[in-house]
């Protein structure tokens, strides 16, 4: 049984993993330099597209970020997603996970999707807290660490990765899943896809449109210290004695 699916994929723009991060004076991470669609979210977009191809329906990309984050949405549109929504507002700069989730929830709710797909954790924030918060605010169940998804009518069956294997989890739509990189290998955007993406809609909205107040931040950074680093030991070339040196260390550590 297949019935058309309305799928929302949350996509975040992050600093390019292949470039260096910088810190702003207010201790927020600079996102203005080289930025890309989060590689984890790219997998989410791919899974959304695969499900749409199998069941029919629509893939909507929702992102919160500066205006420049349109580029990340555009990337997903060129892969084949149908349209995008960008929440952008100066008040949202440096938003914490809860405020992010509140804004995303307010933008997603009116779409009334059957399925919301998030990444497991973002490349730069990496707290992995937006998806469970978003699920709670949308009143949906969440299945995290999804590495395989099957949908049959309104039933979703997910292989949820666990530390020692996986669980099979069943739920009814609407549901939110957060996916791992194992879910799907993202496709390359074709030239045709890139051309088509230019005319696809990206709706831009602000906090006022969503009817939410920023509120007090749930947490604040009081200060930064250098992380404790281990002292470098000795670095030796493998000139034939390296194995002996390792053995010596293993003996000192009493493991041989």
């Amino acid at each position: 049984m297949t019935s058309a699916l309305k799928i929302v994929v949350t996509v975040k723009q992050v600093p390019d993993p292949n470039s260096n991060l910088t810190l702003e004076a207010d201790n927020t991470l600079s996102r203005e330099k080289e930025v890309v669609l989060d590689p984890g979210d790219e997998c989410g977009v791919e899974e959304g597209l695969l499900l749409k191809e199998a069941h029919g329906g629509e893939v909507i990309l929702v992102s919160m970020g500066p205006e420049k984050a349109k580029d990340a949405i555009r990337k997903g549109l060129s892969m084949g997603a149908d349209r995008g929504v960008l929440i952008t507002d100066p008040q949202l700069a440096g938003a914490d996970a809860l405020l992010t989730a509140r804004a995303l929830a307010a933008a997603i709710k009116p779409e009334a999707p059957d399925l919301v797909i998030c990444g497991t954790e973002s490349y730069d924030g990496s707290t992995g807290m937006v998806p469970p918060m978003l699920a709670e605010l949308l009143g949906m169940p969440q299945v995290s660490f999804a590495k395989k998804v099957e949908i049959d009518g309104s039933t979703i069956k997910v292989h949820r990765q666990t530390p020692d294997g996986y669980q099979v989890v069943e739920a009814s739509t609407p549901v939110l899943i957060s996916v791992t990189a194992a879910i799907a290998e993202p496709r390359y955007a074709s030239l045709k896809g890139i051309m088509a993406a230019r005319s696809k809609e990206i709706k831009q909205i602000g906090l006022g449109d969503l009817g939410i107040e920023k509120g007090e931040p749930a947490e604040t950074i009081e200060g930064l210290t250098e992380a404790e680093t281990r002292k470098a030991g000795s670095v030796i070339e493998d000139d034939g004695t390296a194995v002996d040196r390792i053995i010596q260390l293993l003996v000192e550590a009493k493991v041989v």
């Binding site: 749930a218 947490e219 250098e226 281990r230 070339e237 260390l249």
Partner: protein
């Protein structure tokens, strides 16, 4: 002193090691109450008492084991409404993450995730969180009550101090509306003889191992040393080895006596899961790889040559 809750995650009815680590920290921060949900919760209360819980709130409803996150969120929210906590500690584990995130959103308090330490300050709580690619540590202050903090496994050492907890039934009805993400099957893929998290010696391989066919070289060395084999996310994502072997931010945290990193560059997301190891040995053909700057001994050379030679030498030593 404030009231500190530890969400004591159970695994097949047993208190997880991470929960006991949290207990050790919680004792320094206030009056400790633990919450244990699902099969085995009552028996777990005895262990939690020995680790410093004054009270353990228990409920053995099967829904806690059969449905993801929502039943536990309901239970914690109900308890918090009756007798509010000042601080709630969760382990940064897959199951606890889902519960903590939902709870924070429901209570509208936010949370601090991935912390390596927590301290009481000015009547509130401050947590230390890796920041800026792990090069820095941010002191994050929780502005709301309760403060919810997710702490990375192996951040503290569990220690039994003796004691008996008062066991209280946590009264909550889990209704159908929270029984939605149903765990219908559990599949165990890990076939490790020695558990990665508990091993005295961990030998981990990265992309520098060249391919999945070379991982048996690490198995051989692990067998000779009585250790376990780990891996980086790069090789897990490439499908060389299962996720159960992944060490790092999104994998397991380990703290063995000796950690041998083979063909691993030492990205922060990897090292955050192993840097608390007592001795670190790195084998890498690149003398400039970041892992070399944190290893007690860095050997510059070809892993595929050094590892078999090392295995042979360990075996010879044992004879």
């Amino acid at each position: 002193m404030g009231k500190v809750w530890v969400y004591a995650e159970l695994n097949q009815g047993n208190v997880t090691p991470t929960a006991l680590e949290l207990m050790a920290k919680a004792r320094e921060l206030g009056d400790v109450e633990a919450i244990a949900l699902g099969a085995g919760a009552k028996a777990a209360a005895a262990t939690l008492g020995k680790h410093g819980a004054k009270v353990v709130h228990v409920n053995e409803d099967a829904a806690f084991d059969d449905f993801i996150a929502e039943p536990a969120t309901d239970a914690l929210a109900a308890l918090h409404k009756e007798q509010p906590a000042d601080l709630i500690l969760f382990g940064f584990t897959p199951d606890s993450r889902d519960v903590a995130g939902r709870l924070a959103a429901r209570l509208e308090v936010g949370l601090i995730s991935g912390a390596g330490d927590v301290a009481a300050k000015d009547g509130g709580f401050v947590a230390k969180v890796p920041y800026f690619g792990g090069a820095k540590l941010a002191s994050m202050k929780a502005n709301k009550k309760p403060a919810i903090v997710l702490v990375r496994p192996k951040s503290f050492e569990a220690k039994e101090i003796g004691g008996t907890a008062e066991v209280k039934d946590l009264n909550v009805t889990i209704d159908a509306g929270s029984k939605r993400a149903h765990v219908t099957e559990r599949v165990v893929e890990a076939s490790e003889k020695v558990k990665l998290e508990d091993a005295r010696v961990v030998i981990s391989g990265g992309r520098g191992m060249g391919g999945p066919d070379n991982f048996p070289l690490l198995e051989d060395l692990a067998n000779a040393l009585g250790g376990a084999v780990g891996a980086t996310r790069a090789v897990v994502d490439a499908g060389w080895v299962p996720y159960s072997m992944q060490v790092g931010q999104t994998g397991k945290s380990v703290r063995p006596g000796v950690y041998i990193a083979v063909g691993i560059s030492g990205a922060m997301q990897h090292t955050v899961g192993m840097k608390a190891s007592k001795v670190i040995i790195a084998i890498n053909k690149d003398a400039e790889a970041p892992i070399m700057k944190m290893a007690d001994l860095g050997v510059v050379g070809d892993a595929l040559k050094i590892v078999p030679a090392l295995t042979a030498a360990v075996k010879a030593k044992k004879r």
